[in-house]
Structures are given as C-alpha cells and as structure tokens.
C-alpha cells in the first residue's frame, strides 16, 4: 500500500512556547517534498513533533499515517509503522557498535520468531557501507561516537537504507557535508527513491538549495512563522536561493525574524 502522511492544523509547543501553528501538509509514497525556511522557524520542531520527541507537545491538530492516528503512538511505534527521521543532531551511544545497534533496530520491526540472520545482515550492511563510501571499520565503531559531522550524517542515511522506511524525514542532512559527501548522499537518496517508488515518501528539510541539485523535489514548501506559507516546485527553491526570504515576508505581511522571536517570547 502506498503510504500517506497527513498533517492537519498541527500546533506544537516546547516549554510553553508555541512554535508551529495550524500547519498542514500531506506526503504520499512516491513523492519528494522539500521544506525550506530560515533558521529558527520550526523545521526541526515539525520533524520532532512527527517523530514524537517527548520534549515537544502537540496541543492541537492531527497527524495520520495510512489513516491511523500517529500522535497517540509512542516513538518506537511510529518508527515501526514506517516513519524515519534522520536527525539534525544524532546522539552518540558509547559502547554500542553500529552493527549491533542496526541489527537490533532491524529485528525490532520483524516478527520475533523471524530475526534477520547474522550473515544476511552483515552482507546488507557491507553493501550499504560501500554504497555510501563509508569507512569499512564503521560497523565496529561505537554509534556516532567520535564521528565527524559528515560521518554522522552518512550514518543516518545508512540507517535509512537498511531500515527501509515508508515515510522518511531528513532534517538538514546536507549540513556538515562537503561537496563529495553531498554527492554520495544525493546519489543514494535518488537511487532509493527510484527503487522504492511508491513505497516511500520523502520529506527533505533543508536550509540551502544545494541538496536539491542532487535530489529533485516534486514539491517545495516554505515554513515561516510556524506554518507553511507557500508551496510550489523547484522554481520556488530557485527564487529563494536567488532572492532570499525577505520578498516572501513582505508579500505575506510577516515581520522580520527578530520581531517574531519577541512575539513568541511574550
């Protein structure tokens, strides 16, 4: 079945500060969406609210995945339902090797009596490590410990390749990547989008347009002031790259970022 994530009038806060207001967005299998927006407008908040980060509270609205309420589910239930979030700042877990962690994560979504065997797992892992041009010793290193920014980001994509999500959200996967790494990540994403077809929907959160040179979105949305203020296609991303966000602020009658911060504080 083609996955379908429907976000309606989502309002979300952190520590009593409302960050997202009445946000609407639908992502279906086979679609690539990009969410752009200036820093601090709530892009990561959206990702966190969808994944169920306990620090964020959804106060209104609904989110469904394939028609079922996502918001009543725990974080791990959401993951097992097919949601994946490549985090902007992935955690380090000392003492847990990448390989042990990945195998546990893969087996968590399989029936208990049908775990993935060690050898098929090692083979898939090896292929994915090679595809992402990562260091061969990666499986035996502790999860994200001592990883460079770029290594962490690639490691997020590695997990995505192996976990085969239905809806994948990538939060600023391009930050901290040099040109070569960006090309590798872009190529892997493009290949995965092609291979999985309608089985997977992709939501790219990015601050810069450069990632979109490597993986072309079908839809581009602008998130500002806690909601999606404009949707379009690649042309919109081009315009934002060229002219910045001020023209959009003016058109929408929004105040500048610094002003909206003051408003949020009061």
């Amino acid at each position: 079945m083609k996955p379908e994530l429907i976000i309606e009038r989502l309002t979300c806060q952190i520590d009593g500060t409302v960050i997202l207001r009445d946000l609407d967005l639908t992502v279906r299998g086979g679609e690539v969406h990009a969410i752009m927006g200036p820093n601090g407008t709530g892009k990561s908040t959206l990702a966190a609210a969808l994944m169920g980060n306990p620090r964020y509270t959804v106060t209104a609205g609904s989110v469904t995945l394939d028609g079922a309420d996502l918001l009543v589910r725990t974080v791990d239930e959401r993951a097992r339902a097919g949601l994946f979030l490549a985090m902007q700042y992935p955690s380090e877990v000392s003492g847990v090797t990448n390989a042990d962690f990945l195998r546990t994560a893969i087996n968590a979504r399989r029936p208990e009596d049908q775990p993935l065997g060690l050898f098929p797992f090692r083979r898939r892992l090896k292929e994915a490590v090679a595809a992402l041009e990562m260091n061969e010793n990666l499986p035996d290193r502790y999860l994200n410990e001592g990883f460079s920014g770029g290594e962490r980001k690639r490691n997020e994509i590695l997990q995505m390749l192996l976990l085969e999500p239905r809806i994948a959200i990538l939060d600023e996967i391009d930050s901290g990547l040099d040109i070569d790494a960006l090309r590798v990540v872009g190529a892997n994403l493009t290949r995965m989008v092609a291979e999985r077809g309608e089985e997977m929907g992709l939501l790219l959160i990015t601050h810069y347009r450069r990632l979109l040179d490597h993986i072309r979105p079908d839809f581009v949305h602008v998130l500002m002031d806690g909601r999606i203020v404009r949707s379009g296609d690649m042309e919109l991303a081009d315009r934002l790259e060229r002219d910045g966000y001020d023209w959009l602020r003016e058109e929408l009658g929004l105040r500048h970022l610094s002003d909206s911060h003051c408003e949020a504080d009061t």
């Binding site: 974080v75 993951a79 985090m87 380090e92 847990v96 042990d100 968590a108």
Partner: protein, 354 residues
C-alpha cells in the same frame, strides 16, 4: 576442581590449559579437550610467604581514611599462600586462564612475572572467594601483558583483591576488570617504571541492589614518555553503591608523560549511590593529564534517538546500559581467541541481569 572444570567448559575454555589457585592448593590444569596445538607449560612454583611489611604494600592509599570507609576493607594481614608464575618470551602470544577460589581461610598471593619481550593474555577468574587475593605483576622490557580480572558470573561473594604492577621500559599493560555480580573491593597500583611504559586500565561494574563495588586505582608515572589511561564505568541499580577512586601521579621523572582518567556512573534508580574521586598529583610541567567524571541517568535524547529507530523503551535502555559497560568487555574479547569466548559469556551474563 570439578567446579573449575565445569566453569572451564561453560566458558568454552576446555582446549586451553589453566592454573588453579586457592589458599590450599596450586595446580596446573591440562586442557580438558585436545588443544589445536601443543602448549608448553610455564614455570609455576611456590614462593616464600610475604612478611607483614610486604603485604601492607597492597593496601590502598589515603582514600580509605578520608572517604566513607568501605563495608569490608581489604585485610592486608593474616596468612597467605604465595605462588610464582613465570611467563617466558615465546613465538606466539600466550593465553592463560587462572582460576582463583579461596572460599575461606588463607589468602592467595600470585607473583606474575612476564619476561622481557614476552606477550601474554592472562585472565584471572575469581570464583567464590571471600579470602583476600594479592597479585604482584612485573612486565619486563618490551613485554606486553593483558591482565583481565573477572568475577566469574554466578559466584556471589565478596571479592577482596589488590593488584600491583611494575611496567618496565617500552612494555605495556592492559588491564580489564569486570564484576557483574556481588560486592567487591579492588585496589590497583601501577608503576610505569621504564621509559615509554604504558597502561590501559578499564573496569565494568554492574552494581546490584544492596551491593557495593569499590575500585581504587593509582598510577605512578615513574619515567619519561609513559602513558596511562584509566577508564572505569559503573552501572548502579536500586540501592547499589559504587565508588571509584583514581589517582594519577606524575612526579618530576614523568617528563612528556600522558595521564588520563575517566570515571563514569550510570544510575538506574534515584536510590542508587555513587562517588568518584579523581586525583591528579603533578610535579612536572612537561606532561599532559586530564580527568573526566560523570554521574547520571540515561540521557532522554539518547533514548529518543534509539526509539526513533524502532527499539522499545526497555530495549533501548538495555542497549545503552550494555553499551555503557562494554568497553572493558570488548577489550577482553579483543585480547585473544579465548578472551573472545569469555567476552561472549560476559555479554550473555549482562543480558540476564539488566
């Protein structure tokens, strides 16, 4: 002896010879199953019992007096049966398990001499051992010793153990201590006596409710270009009590030395108690030294990250806790083929307990 043979089989160590020591006996145990290649027998013999002055050198330094006295201090007196084990330089690296069981009665003292240029992985496994254990190690020039001290899972008892090591020029000592069961009081004193001598010492302590594990490590950098890293990790459950004291001493002789220590506790309950005492005594400008310590619960962000990959809350907690204790266990596994088998058993034991 039957108990020891059983343990050798459970740990998968049947193809290796072993040594068994207690306050009453000392024996060389031939392999239970035929070994892949013949193994030579190192020199194992009795030694003169130490006089009180020598025995008192196994006592921990000042922390005992300054900070909460341990529930059971290390007795550095009484009758002791001494043994000497000499490991010569050989073609390969020797793996040797040493079982120490001292139910009650006399203490056990093991002199472990590693000849210059030799390489060995010695794993001390303590079984029900209420009697004190003393280990006196010499790692000769250019020799390499991995000395692991493991409280054999499932043998509940106090482990009272003190080990001293002298590491000569360009020699290295790797030490890993693992205790997943009951209370222990372990004292370690290392002297990096020769130029370029190295120590890496790790501990993994799973401290269960109403148990106390106390580790006290002192490293003295007695020569130039010596390096040490002490990394102690403890997981404290319910009403357990953990105590790590680590002392790095860099006298004038420690030119261009490097001395690092880290003490971390993962607290699994608000009633759990832990203390760490990091001390650095530095008397030389040209050194690098540092310590890190932490006491805290599992980071909510870490749990969230693991859960976002589909792990249930309990599985995520278990993974973090296992990971927290795994550096020492991984290091045991990396020491030799036999070490890898022991590490597997320790991980299985850990999974049963958390």
């Amino acid at each position: 002896m039957i108990l020891i043979d059983e343990t050798r089989r459970t740990l998968g160590l049947a193809v290796w010879p072993a040594v068994a020591l207690s306050g009453k006996e000392r024996s060389w145990l031939e392999p239970l199953d035929p070994p892949a290649a013949p193994v030579s027998r190192p020199q194992l013999c009795g030694a003169a019992a130490p006089d009180p002055a020598e025995l008192s050198r196994f006592r921990a330094l000042e922390t005992e007096a300054k900070h909460r006295a341990p529930a059971r201090p290390l007795p550095c007196c009484g009758r002791v049966r001494a043994t000497r084990l000499r490991l010569a330089a050989e073609a390969g690296r020797r793996f040797l398990p040493v079982f120490i069981s001292g139910e009650r009665g006399d203490g056990t003292l093991l002199y472990l001499d590693v000849a210059p240029g030799a390489s060995a992985h010695v794993v001390l496994l303590t079984l029900a051992s209420e009697a004190p254990i003393y280990i006196d190690v010499t790692v000769g020039e250019n020799a390499h010793l991995q000395l692991d001290i493991i409280k054999c899972p499932g043998h509940d008892s106090w482990q009272l153990l003190s080990w001293r090591a002298t590491v000569e020029r360009f020699a290295s000592l790797v030490h890993n201590s693992v205790d997943l069961d009951s209370s222990a009081y372990q004292v370690g004193q290392v002297i990096l006596a020769g130029e370029g001598a190295e120590l890496t010492s790790r501990a993994a302590a799973l401290i269960q409710s109403f148990e106390e594990q106390r580790l006290d490590v002192t490293v003295t950098h007695g020569a130039a270009h010596s390096r040490s890293l002490v990394e102690n990790h403890g997981v404290v459950q319910e009403r357990g009590h953990g105590f790590f004291a680590v002392r790095g001493r860099m006298p004038q002789a420690a030119v261009a030395g490097d001395c690092r220590q880290e003490s971390r506790f993962l607290m699994l309950s608000p009633q759990a108690e832990a203390h760490s005492y990091p001390v650095l005594e530095i008397d030389q400008y040209d050194v690098a030294a540092g310590h890190a310590a932490s006491v805290g619960g599992i980071e909510p962000e870490t749990l969230y990250y693991l859960q976002s990959r589909g792990l249930g809350e309990q599985d995520a907690q278990r993974l973090v806790t296992t990971g927290f204790l795994s550096p020492a266990i991984h290091a045991i596994g990396a020491g030799s083929e036999g070490g890898a088998l022991i590490a597997d058993c320790l991980f299985a034991g850990l999974a049963e307990r958390i």
